[in-house]
């Protein structure tokens, strides 16, 4: 028998094995009282609180979350596109500018990108105090760096011949760039930009869970006081908003994929981004009129000697091991579970059920899932991995559905004609052709999961995230800086590793 050389579909399904140790640990840790609490939680889903006062408060909090998301999204897109242009060596060459500033900018953007928005939020909270713009800034900083990376990568990957032709014809560089690059880059901006809006809404909710205002704060308070009916009122509202947004974005994306979307559509999108930014900021000001202006609370510059001392005190091996283990387990669940669930029962009604489950998983921020699981369990790394894996599994589940929708039924029919069962026809005829693309998304999602370990680490008591919270709570700034540096380094290493895997899978 030949040495195993797993193909893309096997690589996509096998990570689901991570569920085994996680489920064994979680199920073994369940205590009897917890089951009752869980039943109460589940039954509250169909009996959410309809108290008008509560609904009014929740609606207001939802508006705050949406306003934060819109403002952060708009700012990050505008900043990201500008930074991406200045980080593009191709554009610099076109404009006959030196390329070394682009190189430096590209490297410098790695740091804000690698630090999760939650850490930015908590840091800014310490130095600026509680203010709605803290959440907006926390979303904007890493998102702008992420958009800049994607924008720059796409710019540099474009075929330069059209641009060169225009420049040789005597067109001014800016006009030539707009004419030659905007059709392709417009599609990227509209597709990726729409996706970032969904992410911004999730991030704004998550930041709320950690006290930065909006619906997340209300959800967290309801859960901590075991007011499940109130919790579900908030979740249903958030679900309604998310589903509406998802439908709008899907419709927009379908229209944008029709090749002749044109420049008018791009202009419309850009105008929408700017209007969203202005609306978000004005809305925040109207909703929270007493928030005052942002005041710099001061932060002493770090001393090298104290940083070294703080670094020496930390149990690095354990922290890094726990963070990596959390990432591997959560990524395994997130990537492997959606195709495995479809493979076990590849029927239309089951797919509808799964879509609803993935939507719910995407909706609930991972820290809330951790808190929910902790109602019936003791804190372990497995709880964090399960929460993070299910949340990201929700995102991967939707991506899988979208991937499969683009696949023609020919291969599946061919497998059926061979006599293969519905399950095997789905595996070989439908999933296999889309699996390299799905894996590439999975590699990107693993980057996100590595960054997000901080979110569940803070609650689950494991890894660098937990240590970071400890250091933040005790104002041990030297340790905070060292830990953020370590997080950034691990994230960038993971990103590099995943980039290698992604290229290999897409080319294989």
């Amino acid at each position: 028998m030949a040495l195993p050389r797993p193909s893309a579909p096997a690589l996509a399904v096998l990570p689901a094995l991570a569920l085994l140790p996680v489920l064994i640990t979680v199920l073994a840790g369940i205590h009897a009282g917890g089951v009752e609490i869980w039943m109460a939680f589940l039954s509250a889903a169909v009996h959410p609180s309809l108290d008008p006062l509560l609904l009014k408060a929740l609606l207001r909090a939802l508006q705050v979350t949406l306003a934060m998301a819109l403002a952060g999204w708009s700012l990050s897109l505008v900043l990201g596109v500008l930074l991406g242009c200045f980080a593009s060596e191709r554009l610099m060459q076109t404009w006959r500018w030196p390329t070394w500033p682009a190189w430096i900018l590209r490297r410098s953007l790695a740091l804000p990108r690698s630090v999760h928005e939650l850490i930015w939020g908590l840091l800014l909270l310490q130095v600026l105090g509680l203010h709605p713009w803290v959440a907006v800034a926390a979303i904007t900083i890493p998102y702008a760096a992420l958009v800049a990376r994607v924008w720059r990568d796409q710019l540099d990957a474009l075929d330069p011949s059209r641009l060169q032709a225009l420049l040789q014809g005597g067109a001014p560089p800016l006009a030539a760039c707009c004419t030659a690059l905007s059709p392709a880059m417009g599609t990227v901006l509209m597709s990726y930009g729409g996706y970032r809006l969904e992410c911004a809404l999730r991030s704004a909710t998550l930041l709320g869970v950690f006290g930065l205002g909006g619906l997340g704060t209300d959800l967290q308070l309801s859960l901590q006081s075991l007011q499940f009916r109130e919790l579900w009122s908030g979740l249903w509202l958030l679900g309604l908003l998310s589903v509406s947004l998802e439908i709008l974005l899907t419709l927009w994306r379908r229209q944008s994929h029709k090749a002749q979307a044109g420049q008018r559509r791009l202009c419309l999108f850009l105008a929408g981004v700017i209007v969203a930014g202005i609306t978000g900021s004005t809305w925040l000001h109207v909703l929270l009129p007493d928030s005052g202006s942002v005041v710099w609370q001061g932060l002493a510059l770090p001393d090298w000697g104290r940083l070294m001392l703080a670094a020496a005190e930390l149990p690095w091996l354990r922290l890094i091991y726990e963070t990596l283990l959390l990432t591997v387990l959560a990524a395994g669940i997130a990537v492997g579970l959606p195709p495995l669930a479809m493979l076990l029962v590849p029927s239309r009604p089951w797919q509808v059920v799964l879509n609803a489950v993935w939507a719910l998983m995407r909706l609930i921020p991972p820290p809330l899932t951790v808190l929910l699981l902790l109602l019936s369990n003791r804190p372990t790394l497995a709880i964090g991995a399960l929460a993070l894996g299910l949340h990201n599994g929700g995102v991967m589940g939707r991506l899988l559905r979208e991937e499969l929708e683009q696949q023609s039924a020919d291969q599946q029919q061919a497998m059926g004609a061979l006599g293969a069962s519905a399950r095997l026809s789905w595996l070989y005829g439908l999933f296999t052709p889309r699996s390299p693309g799905y894996l590439a998304y999975g590699a990107y999602r693993s980057d996100v999961i590595l960054r997000e370990t901080v979110v569940v680490g803070l609650i689950g008591g494991s890894g660098l995230g937990w240590q970071l919270l400890e250091s933040l709570s005790s104002f041990h700034w030297d340790a905070v800086l060292v830990l953020i540096g370590a997080y950034a380094l691990i994230t960038l290493l993971g990103e590099w590793l995943n980039d290698q895997c992604r290229d290999r899978w897409l080319q294989s």
């Binding site: 096997a10 004609a417 399950r423 095997l424 052709p433």
Partner: protein
């Protein structure tokens, strides 16, 4: 000769190309059938009805005397198709594609294992040789070579090898010569029609039906079926078909 496949008054109403009108025919054990007709005549539709991919609105399709709809999974494996567009799985290796031929007889664990490594490389190599492709041509990667890195002719052989691995009783080949150069086309046809000394087909099938646009090749077959606009125009022994009939078939 006993009847292997029987179509009675089959009616398929679809688009202009997916159309069969009151079609009745039989395929007997040991027969090599040429299916002729201009483009859009219904040849691919007929093959899709026989392999169960399309369900006719009226009429019956009997396989070994039993209704096609009543066939179980194992019986469905008895009809193998060589698709016009081959329908190989580009993301898998040569060996994994050939093994896909036996998916109808295997369960999920086997199917998953085949995605991890090529199972049963010896039967795969045998089928590949039978299809006319020597494994050395695949280089050091052998059966692990991705299908997407093969030439058109090599891909045709891999599709043929998958068909042989399936070991069907009836082979349906939908225009297998369409995009091949004359030398490879002749060899592929040889492989499909080759008989053993006892008269049975060399790869174990009981009958073969090949759709093609080459009336000059009908002498290689036992029987000719010819369709036009979804209707059966000719159903006769190959030697009995006259050039005039063939001219009428392709006449506008």
């Amino acid at each position: 000769m006993s009847s292997l496949l029987q179509l009675e008054e089959v009616q398929l109403v679809g688009s202009q190309r997916d159309r069969l009108i009151s079609l009745s025919l039989q395929v007997h054990r040991g027969e090599r059938v040429a299916l002729l007709g201009p483009s859009g005549a219904g040849k691919s539709s007929l093959m899709s009805v026989i392999n169960g991919t399309l369900i006719p609105q009226q009429g019956t399709v009997l396989w070994r005397g039993r209704s096609l709809q009543q066939r179980n999974r194992r019986q469905r494996c008895e009809i193998g198709t060589l698709w016009q567009d081959l329908r190989l799985i580009e993301e898998l290796s040569v060996g994994q594609n050939i093994n896909a031929g036996v998916l109808g007889r295997r369960g999920l664990p086997w199917a998953l294992a085949n995605l991890l490594f090529t199972i049963g490389s010896e039967p795969c190599l045998q089928c590949l040789r039978q299809a006319g492709l020597e494994p050395q041509v695949l280089g050091s990667e052998g059966l692990d070579r991705p299908v997407k890195r093969l030439s058109g002719g090599q891909r045709q052989r891999v599709a043929l090898a998958r068909l042989f691995r399936q070991q069907p009783s009836l082979v349906l080949a939908d225009e297998p010569l369409a995009s091949l150069d004359p030398a490879i086309a002749a060899e592929v046809l040889d492989r499909l029609l080759e008989r053993d000394a006892d008269g049975s087909l060399a790869y174990g099938a009981e009958a073969v039906m090949v759709s093609l646009h080459r009336p000059d090749l009908i002498h290689r077959f036992d029987r000719v079926l010819a369709l036009r606009d979804g209707r059966l125009l000719i159903d006769a022994p190959a030697r009995a078909v006259t050039p005039g009939e063939l001219q009428d078939l392709y006449a506008l």
